[in-house]
Amino acid sequence: MLRYTLLRLLGAIPTLLLVIVLAFLMVHAAPGGPFDDERALPAEVAEKIEEAYHLDEPLPQQFMRYLSGLVRGDLGPSYGYRDRTVDEVIGFGFPVSLQLGALAMLLALVVGVGCGTVAALRQDSLLDRAVMAFAMTGISIPVFVVAPVLVLLLAVKLQWLPAGWSGETGAARYFLPVITLALPQIAYIARLTRASMIDVLSSDFIRTARAQGLGTKAIIRHHALKPAMLPVLSYMGPAIAAILTGSVVVEEVFGIPGLGQFFVRAALNRDYTLVLGIVIFYAALIILLNLIVDILYGVIDPRVRQR
């Protein structure tokens, strides 16, 4: 297991390098500099700024400089936030995004697995159909429509919840973003759970357990849930990616200071270093999360470990 983990970690290095090179080249190929504005900078000032940020050096040299900083965990100064470093901005944004993403994932798992199991138990009933119809609708409406509609209804019209982030400090501000973010994932997970639960429930060992007189609850809890969760678990990778994408919209609409919002702002403002920093950070994160999912998979399904 340890060997496997180490190998996977080593294998991640070329991946990361590829991401770094790709992102670095793309960012630097983009027209427009970080310090352009409607009022042009005097040439002398522009020169000084470029010098200060080493933008006057040839590209390979800039790349090596960046790489050597990266090795030391230094992602450089942010061009957009002129008093801050990229490390700091990520340090601000990531906990927020993580909290939001983790809560959304948790909600999606609980509600999704719950709905899927209930639907599977009452296959083809009205309840099943309702759950599945909801699930289908959930994945068919873009997040950027759901979010403002929920804001209009629950915040502006009914005044139950705040519409934004920065004014409140309590839990209320989590509700709308987390629900919006979780909604499509609830739908996917419910569908996955239902399908695999139906599969598992019709298998021989469940029939045996039933024959032994075990109640439905006990059967689900002790026998069916674990094997039925396998497809859900392998969906975690894509789910994380989807939540990352979704968080860009949700953070944008609710004005949440997370990494997604920082990324979009930075990309639009040519904050080279922040864009690069976030892409690299996310790539590393995805690699790590995929690794964790794989290991978890091994824990639940011993067959994988033996292979």
Partner: protein, 519 residues
């Protein structure tokens, strides 16, 4: 993984988040919540350049001169000043009780120090050229500052209200170096102190107890919330989370006017929205007929009334109306009806060598934004219907558009705007001088440059004004750009807020505002 446990986990998490900070409610201090559409890049007075940074800086800092709530010049860090008879020497007398937020006195030396840092190329200040009319600045003693000018600069006092001319505490800079402006370090000499800055979210300012006018500052805490989406800002205003909005989304404007009309503040602004021509490339180089034809074919009245509908005024001049000591020159055709204009435009279009068989093919670039999109689509359809021109719209990110504008290679017609730095025609007209870095069209006319130079040499305000007006007339006849409309500022201001006054500069110092006592 059992569902029950997961539920518990989830509710525990939420409960934790909830009780973590619920100490907000019981406070009696007054808090003003303001919206800010763009996040300041820094609060370092010399490195900042956005309007939003300046808005926050006006809350935490103070120049020699300031503005009153209604936008008139007022004494600030200097309590009074004298001007020599030739208008070239200003002597400012600083308030003896002006203090930094750490209790230190604000001295004339701090202003001199700041100006030295501003013009030092090593600072790479965006506004490095801002005080180029100043020959020398000198601290006569701790409380007396002498400013000597190269030429008569009637707008000097207005320049001195700008954050780029605010003082800097030399000790703080020596201690922290270039990162002196971070929260927790930044010393302020204004009504508020920067207490906290959560990137992408909010800047929290608290009362500066050492401010000389602290007792007349009503509001204890000001929160500038960064809300980049205008629709989100409106939603948050309607839920009561924001007291003052920075803008009003164009799509919701009619709705807002109907429902929140009494809280809506629309006021003319010193700001022009224009389409620039790339004068260095065909088809616009050497073709004033075509430039005039396109300009005349735009039905500006329709545009401002129907497409914009927020109180903007159609632009027939370059300098906005309402600029002090100036009467804008308008296009000669301003008095014609649109039908008459269209007829002339059509014949100019033919004169320039285009026709139905050989239509003008054109690219119009604008930066991604809902208002710009609307204007571009409307103009595209006007040019098609009146002239038969085939216009391709290209929307780009702002930085890409700027880069293209500067390079002058691919651009033909592009959207741009200019916001006056101070209330004077000079801030608008100077950008079209040949050597100006903000001259986006690449306009160059020796006569215009000469008139602008002559205007700068006048000591007499009326004569100066005549030269400036003549310069505008010469420039308009060349059609280097299409003035489209003059902006208006748009804010929603809660009935709780008192002391709000609309003004052309759209400056609204938080220290001039107060909140009605909650009932």
């Amino acid at each position: 993984m059992k569902p029950i446990r997961l539920w518990l986990l989830l509710s525990a998490f939420l409960a934790l988040a909830a009780c973590g900070n619920s100490n907000d409610a019981g406070q009696s201090s007054s808090v003003l919540n303001r919206g800010l559409v763009t996040e300041p890049e820094t609060l370092d007075v010399h490195k900042a350049r956005s309007l939003q940074a300046a808005a926050v800086q006006r809350d935490i800092g103070e120049g020699l001169v300031g503005y009153s709530a209604s936008g008139e010049l007022a004494a600030a860090a200097a309590e009074r000043w004298e001007v020599s008879d030739d208008g070239l020497i200003y002597t400012f007398h600083l308030r003896r009780d002006a203090r930094w937020s750490n209790g230190d006195s604000v001295t004339a030396g701090h202003f001199v120090f700041a100006v030295q840092r501003l013009v030092d190329p090593a600072t790479a200040a965006f506004y490095a050229q801002f005080l180029s009319d100043v020959a020398e600045i000198e601290a006569v003693d701790d409380h007396t500052l002498r400013v000597e000018l190269k030429r008569v600069t009637p707008y000097l006092l207005k320049l001195l209200t700008h954050p780029a001319t605010f003082p800097v505490h030399p000790g703080s800079l020596a201690e922290h170096g270039d990162s002196f402006a971070r929260p927790g370090r930044l010393l302020s000499n204004g009504a508020y102190v920067l207490a906290e800055w959560i990137p992408g979210s909010v800047l929290i300012l608290t009362r500066n107890e050492h401010y000389w006018n602290n007792e007349n500052t009503a509001i204890d805490e000001v929160r500038h919330h960064i809300i980049t989406q205008e629709t989100t800002e409106l939603a948050r205003y309607r839920t009561g989370e924001i007291d003052i909005t920075d803008s009003v989304p164009p799509d919701s404007f009619p709705q807002v006017k109907k429902e929140l009309g009494d809280q809506l503040h629309v006021s003319p602004q010193l700001n022009i929205y224009y389409y620039g021509y790339n004068l260095t490339q065909p088809p616009f180089r050497d073709s004033p007929e075509l430039r005039q034809a396109l300009s005349m074919a735009i039905d500006r009245e329709q545009l401002v009334e129907k497409v914009m509908g927020r109180g903007e005024t159609a632009a027939y001049s370059w300098v906005p109306p309402g600029v002090d000591n100036y009467t804008p020159t308008v296009f000669s055709y301003a008095s014609l009806t649109q039908e008459e204009r269209n007829k002339i435009a059509q014949s100019l279009y033919r004169e320039a060598g285009y026709s139905e068989e050989q239509p003008l093919q054109l690219e119009l670039r604008y930066n991604t934004n809902d208002t710009h999109r609307r204007v571009a689509v409307a103009v595209q359809s006007m040019w098609r219907e009146v002239l038969g021109a085939e216009v391709t719209l290209i929307n780009e990110e702002f930085q890409v558009l700027l880069a293209n504008m500067r390079a002058r290679q691919v651009t033909q017609v592009f959207r741009a705007s200019w916001i006056g730095d101070y209330n004077d025609a000079h801030t608008f007209l100077s950008i079209l001088q040949s050597d100006n870095e903000a001259n986006t069209p690449g306009y160059s006319n020796a006569e215009y440059d000469a008139l602008m130079r002559q205007a700068a040499e006048q000591t007499d305000l009326d004569r100066r004004r005549l030269y400036l007006e003549e310069a505008e007339r010469v420039m308009l006849a060349d059609h280097p750009a299409i003035p489209i409309y003059f902006y208006v500022s748009k804010h929603l201001v809660s009935p709780q807020v008192e002391g709000w006054r609309d003004n052309v500069l759209d400056y609204h110092y938080s220290q001039h505002l107060s909140l009605k006592a909650a009932e």
